[in-house]
Amino acid sequence: MTDPRTAPAGTDVDAAPVLATAAANAPSAQAGAGRRSFLPRSTLLRHLILLVVGAVLAVALLELTDPFTNSQLAQVAYYAIAAGGLTVLTGLNGQISLGHGALMAVGAYTTALFLQADEPWPLPLIFLVSIAVTAVVGAIVGVAAARLHGPYLAGATLALAVGLPGLALYFRDTLGGEQGLRVRAPRPPDWFREAISTLSGGSGSTTKWLAYVGAFWLLIAFFLLANLARSRIGRTWRAVRDQEVAAELAGISLAPWRVLAFVVSAACAGLGGAVLAVVVRLAAPSAFTLVLSLALLTAIVIGGLGSLFGALIGSAILVFLPPWVTDLGTSAGLNGTKAAQLAPFVYGAVLVLAMIFAPAGIVGTLRLRLLGLRARRAARAGGG
């Protein structure tokens, strides 16, 4: 395999997408006996520790920031959940999907429908149902998608993104039509309010509760995804992505693994959509436009394909960059609506520039640099 950093673009069309998915190419087992490490060797244990650290950080972040930022963090949570699934699909398994916005819609509408009952089921149960429903839809889409490649897959998932919300318009009586289904946000339980007031003296408002709900499910989802990525399943996905022929020779049949990847990513999109429905308090077709699917793609590309942490960074950028850019625009003299367009312009420009100059995204580029650094150090140590 040629050195990814020096191979000229355009050499071999069929070569593995090494550059773009560099973020995903971390070794799946612990390597290097002599390396310093603060974390244990076992994958599960390592991930558990990261989970706990993540939880502590989340609580600290939510308590130290004001309610508006809490609501923004809740947005980051639902984008990141869906983006996490998508980055696994595209980064680890090489399938492009422009339709995950539609899958989020499935999760959101399921949640909205179940919350319409007078005495709704407990929220975690509703979320699990949404995940299951979206996984089923994902399986159907995945079976069709497994036979498609590249632009055909992109175009078909694009049609999905644009077409599926139309169902909500057609079945306007159950699904609310253009106006959508309003979601009565679940109110924070008493134990939550007490916990918050002992922790930081603040009030446990609904906004804060929803942010915590989002953070909780984000941590769970990422924990499971990280374990999956490091497991045999993850390795098989990468094999299917990189070397189709070799994988088939090794007895791996490609389609079922592709479908599995699609199902997993769809389940994540469904969970993301469920959290979205509760945070936005609405499930309407206008929330699930093509722009959403593109936004998810942007998040994972900028963060680094295949990296969960990249998905989180990408989602944070997605939520925090537009208001910042819009403020820049208004202070530069643009009127309100034009300044609001500055944000998508910056996105698009960043996407283009990122793919030309840093296709591995933030995490991937960092990883490549560090790999290179280490390789050079090892070469010097070995040769000098």
Partner: protein, 444 residues
């Protein structure tokens, strides 16, 4: 190794996130007590300012026309501020774009309440859009005044005690139009062209109470899909010779255009929210190099009115609005949309005055419930505000568009939702105060 590189990246990213958060930290709430008798009595109100927020479709398919409303509101608030404000406080008006997209409305309203920390919302526009944030606003106890839409969703004091309607509701409008058609066009085959949401549903419900047997076809459109060919073709195929439209202005233009193509020439009636001739004319102007100009297509269309508009420039209210608009120095002419904004702003000032010198959010709500039904203003019929009702203007009159002016077809008729009758309104039209600013007493 990958582990420590990931840790490094973790630290870097955490630093980035934290610094980003620090940069966008929230704004402060009301300040401390000020000079004189004014206090910061609640969120969004300080000793010398009151913050009012709103959401409008400044972009997107519903923007034509509606995007002008906040300029009118701003003009009137500026006028009031220049003349001392309300109880010495200046009104700080903040409005944001939601693109007529309910999901955007949700996030933008979130911004207004949690980040801008407004005292109250006023005039947020759109039925599908604002219905998405009812739960949030009432949950956060934010007064949600005078929603710019005629849906009956805003008249629900039990479940949404902070929300108030303002304009005549669509069901009442449907009833008034229905009765007019029944009396004047009893043999017409009526077709309906409806926005596919509560706006269209409410209008349809009202009309069907009177002329259900005359309706031959009801077609719906979704806002955002600008191809209305199939709907117009279906109306034509059903033999409709009178079409009533409950739609936004861009769709008035579109229906006129498609009807021209198909040679479909029914008698048109449009809800007042979509019937402004100047706007529709400007949308239609460019289309076929001079063949379609002004709103000549709209000539003869029937609509309704609950405010005096630019078609009656001698009306004392319109003269006041013209004065206010000229003083504000903003670009453009006075239009009916700007008048709508100013009229809403007028009622808001009445409410703020009635709420007292140092009102809380609840005081504002009480003030409207107790005094709102008696306020005199530019509306042609009185408000229905009380403890049990949060519905706005109770009536309107039917008019016919003729060139740039209108011809009155009926007197001012008042009615209500449900099976209330339609009655003629006997009251006199109020005249504006000489200063142009209301002077209401506090209710407490």
């Amino acid at each position: 190794m990958i582990r420590s590189s990931r840790r490094l990246v973790t630290v870097l990213a955490a630093a980035t996130v934290v610094s980003t958060l620090a940069a966008c930290g929230g704004g402060g709430g009301g300040g401390g007590g000020g000079s004189g008798d004014n206090e910061a009595s609640d969120t969004g109100i300080t000793a010398d300012s009151i913050k009012i927020g709103a959401t409008y479709p400044l972009t997107g398919v519903a923007a034509p026309g509606y995007s002008e409303i906040p300029t009118g509101v701003q003009a009137y608030f500026d006028y009031v501020n220049d003349n001392g404000g309300v109880n010495g406080r200046k009104i700080d008006y903040v409005f944001k774009d939601d693109g007529y997209n309910p999901t955007n409305t949700s996030s933008v309203t979130n911004d207004l309440v949690l980040k801008e920390e407004v005292f109250a919302m006023m005039g947020a526009l759109g039925t599908p859009t604002h219905s998405a944030v009812l739960d949030f606003l009432n949950g956060e106890n934010v007064p949600d005044l005078f929603v710019a839409s005629g849906s009956s969703l805003w008249d629900d004091p039990k479940n949404n005690p902070y929300t108030f309607g303002w304009q005549t509701d669509y069901e009442s409008e449907g009833k008034i139009l229905g009765q007019y058609i029944q009396e004047n066009f009893p043999d017409a085959k009526v077709g309906l062209f409806l926005q596919d949401d509560d706006f269209g549903e409410d209008g349809e419900r009202g009309i069907r109470e009177y002329i259900d047997d005359q309706i031959v076809s009801a077609q719906r459109y979704t806002s955002g899909n600008t191809d209305v060919g199939p709907q117009i073709a279906a109306l034509q195929a059903a033999g409709a010779d009178f079409v009533v439209g409950f739609n936004t202005p861009a769709y008035t233009a579109l229906t006129q255009l498609v009807s021209l193509q198909l040679g479909f020439k029914p008698q048109w009636a449009y809800s007042n929210v979509g019937s402004d001739p100047a706007l529709v004319g400007s949308l239609l102007a460019n289309f076929s190099q001079g063949k379609v100009t002004d709103a000549s297509l709209l000539d003869g269309a029937i609509t309704t009115q609950y405010l005096a508009g630019v078609d009656t420039p001698d009306d004392p209210w319109v003269q006041l609005w013209q004065k206010v608009w000229d003083a504000s120095g903003q670009d453009g002419e006075l239009t009916n949309f700007r008048i709508y904004g100013m009229a809403q702003a007028y009622t808001t000032v009445q409410a703020l005055q009635a709420a007292g010198q140092n009102p809380t959010r609840d005081d504002l709500v009480d003030a409207i419930e107790q005094a709102g039904g008696d306020w005199k203003g530019p509306a042609l019929a009185p408000f229905r505000y009380s403890e049990d009702r949060h519905a706005g203007i109770s009536g309107m009159r039917v008019v016919k568009i003729s060139g740039t002016s209108t011809e009155q077809l009926t007197d001012i008729l008042t009615t209500d939702t449900g099976d209330a009758d339609i009655k003629k309104f006997d009251g006199k039209e109020a005249t504006p105060p000489s200063s142009g600013i209301p002077d209401e007493d506090p209710v407490n």
